[in-house]
Amino acid sequence: MPLLINREVVADNWSLLNEESFAPEATLSSGDIIVPYALYLEHKARLAEHDGQIALQVNGDDDLTELLENLDQFPMIAIDFPIFRDGRGFSIARILVRAGYKGEIRATGDIGRDRLAYMERCGFTAIQVADDQFKPEMLDAFGEISNFYQSATDNIRAVYHQ
């Protein structure tokens, strides 16, 4: 799946785990893994032996209170957009940044072209686009609107402070 960082397609060394990855008979894939938060909480012991880096994937249904206290344990937090209409991830990204998180904030799930610029403004530093949704011209979407009224998580200040 194409991964966009700094408005460019880059190589992605992370693999996203799911419920099946944790089946009793399965062996955890090696290397850097992204683990959905609920599975992470459930399989903490097993993950403790993992030899690569561990990142979390969260969504709007997760209670993030505890995680917000321990953000620096994770090199990346992926925020999932389970369906196109679900905009909770935009707020979650802003809350992570506000909490001082310095790692990668990655968008996963249903990512449409027109949301890329909004994601960037809300603090996402990486955007993972499904193969069937990706077109190279998507990268143009970032620059279509070049000025904004309100501050967000990027360095743009509200229009009345400019």
């Binding site: 905009g87 909770r88 402070h161």
Partner: protein
Amino acid sequence: MYQYNEVDQQLVNERVEQYRDQTRRYLAGELSEDDFLALRLMNGLYVQRHAPMLRVAGPYGMYNSTQLRKLAHIARTYDKGYAHFTTRTNIQFNWPKLEEVPDILAELASVQMHAIQTSGNCIRNTTTDQFAGVIADEIEDPRPYCEIIRQWSSLHPEFAYLPRKFKIAVSASPTDRAATQVHDIGLHIVKNEAGEVGFEVLVGGGLGRTPVIGKQIRPFLAKEDLLSYLEAIVRVYNLNGRRDNKYKARIKILVQTMGIDQFRELVDAEWEQIRDTDLKLPSTEIDRVKTFFTPFEYDQTAKDDTTLEQKLVEDDAFRTWYERNTVNHKVAGYRITYISLKPYLKPAGDVTDQQLDLIADLADKYSFGEIRATHNQNLVLADVKNSDLYAVWQILTDANLARPNIGTLTDMTVCPGGDFCALANAKTLGIADQINRKFEDMDYVYDLGDLKLNMSGCINACSHHHVGHIGILGVDKKGEDWYQITLGGDDGSNAALGKVMGKSVASDEVADTLQKVIEVYVENRFENERFIDTFQRIGMAPFKEYVYAPAN
């Protein structure tokens, strides 16, 4: 009125090009129907029963004459020669061609207009009092704050995919003319005990399937905290509002379920984190935006006019119009003047291209070039000199825009209904005609006094039937149009939701049923008592009893 600077202009220009490219990709088959749907909704384009419908933003109801002429041009060139004003003070075109919409948006951008966020699950056009800035009883002109909210909410990167649409209204008078209590957020400009001006904040009001009156979340909010507090509310809503059922996704359901106190706690906790960020509004910014809304240079000699008095004595028809369709201006010698978009047997809120041009000319000549739209689908020329009223009335009369019915039963608020709207369960326009025919005798209508009648063609309640003194809701019964009648609603300062009178009536019985309701009112009213006041005094029972009495 606010004028775009380079930032505003560049933003709408870029938005046009962005949408042009999206349309091109859709027509070339590169964008799926679903993907394009989300994008066109962000630009106010719905697909309706017969054709696409484009909704253009009228920020807090303000238009200038140049914009009206452009809208007339668009109606003529790209549509069928007319447009429709909505209850959000926006304007809709019912027949644009999908492939021409980018050109229409470019035309709009050339006169500082756009269709951004007029649909979709985002923060919609903020509405306010149509008398803002010209009415004596307001604490402060609400429009600068509406403009500040417009800017903050436009293309807000975090709030483009809320659980559901989100509407804000601002009022600055003891008399609420902006229906603030039935908005997702209602802001009342108030003075606190220290004499400072700020906002009382209501949250969780709304109509639709589950009508709710908004609840106070904060009795007083300082001006500088306006944006941080709004952002805190919308963020809490974005994170916690229901997304599993679109009928339970509005903020009113969240506030109801959680309770206002717990909701307030969440908002306050969020607000604490952001109130000292750059969301804090500098007073310099408030002052800057205020400069766009400073009072006009009124003619101090206007009050010396004697011709008006004379015309009022001479011409009964003019006097009737003057009494019904004009309102006291805060400056002596001027009147706030309604343009009725409720002519006899024509759809409420519709205007032709010729009427738009004519209104633009009137505004230029008699009212500083500005026009306001009301949430009851009429227009207002806010600053007409007493000495000009007769001429304005004559011109409006010739253009079928002077029906003297503002605030009366025939000043109905009506959605386009089943004739146009894909969501509607029943037609509304024919019923409005039926009512107009029944209540054709204007003297009778005047005698009934202020009476707010709202009719929606479906439960989405675009015409706010829950808050009409009399509400009519079209329902579908086995493929036939039936109409449910509610009584006792109010969208003013004493906001109330109407109660269902009884079983719905067939389409050919609506006007007759209304007649019976009116008879009960006339029978029971005290002198000069409005319908809504009589209803509140005597309750539903006498109405129900008489209307549903078996024929004998």
